[in-house]
Symmetry: C2
Subunit: 142 residues, 2 copies
Amino acid sequence: MCVVTPPDFERLLRGTALRVTRPRLAVLGAVHAHPHADTDTIIGAVRREIPKVSHQAVYDSLHALTAAGLLRRIQPSGSVARYETRIGDNHHHLVCRSCGTIADVDCAVGEAPCLTASEDHGFSIDEAEVVYWGLCPACSTS
Amino acid sequence: MCVVTPPDFERLLRGTALRVTRPRLAVLGAVHAHPHADTDTIIGAVRREIPKVSHQAVYDSLHALTAAGLLRRIQPSGSVARYETRIGDNHHHLVCRSCGTIADVDCAVGEAPCLTASEDHGFSIDEAEVVYWGLCPACSTS
DNA sequence: GGCAGAGTGTTGACTGATTCAAGTTTAGGG
DNA sequence: CCCTAAACTTGAATCAGTCAACACTCTGCC
């Protein structure tokens, strides 16, 4: 049912200093299957595979995987934290002001930071995050 | 001590459908005096003027003023809500990953949305919000 | 294959920003 | 000056996320 070959999550984990555990594999799978899902949704998806995982294990896994660079955390204003596996391509997001739906947008530049601040105030900038706010097709017609 | 003339907050409020109340004037003054301050800081600042305001009144005022367009709410990932009075010029923000400091950056374009998404997925976009992530001068030297 | 121990997971309590709701006060038009 | 909707007070509730103590299990090593 999945047209793309699922990544070899175990190999991804071994590529970092992280141990390979069932919760982590399940979290990677859940985020891959549900892009932009919030933590609650991820916990639900993980529990379909491992019914007894604690929410704490999911939180820990999400943090560890995010720190390792295998996940990206996004959190538009007014939303809870969301996660995605599409990392490394520096893409951006469209967010619906009404229903909160998130869609991916390719970054024309490709490498972070894709924009240069007009005045950096002495900051060393490594990323420019862009969020496009608007209404999704469903919400703009109603 | 303030080199810029403070805006006429009462006039701003009357320009909208909002009633002029002491908490609202104090909130406008507090946000103007403390750009990018979080709610707690704002409550503290307001209470120096009106010691007995409830936190709820400040929350209500912040929401009402934001909805009226007199304030702008910003909330970088991992931070609580912050507010600023500099609105209408579509400027962007520099955020320090280490200490959370926020600095303003002018938008080269000036009018929202300053960027056009490469593929809008049918969304009607009205704003492109840009957050530059990095380290502030103080944090990058330590 | 068995051991050891650092890294992970479980459990359950807790925090803190924000919201809800019921009742009281007040701004501002008539 | 009065009235009414809007705004404020009070106090409790919510909920994502975190903390901490203890139990378990990967993984490298013998």
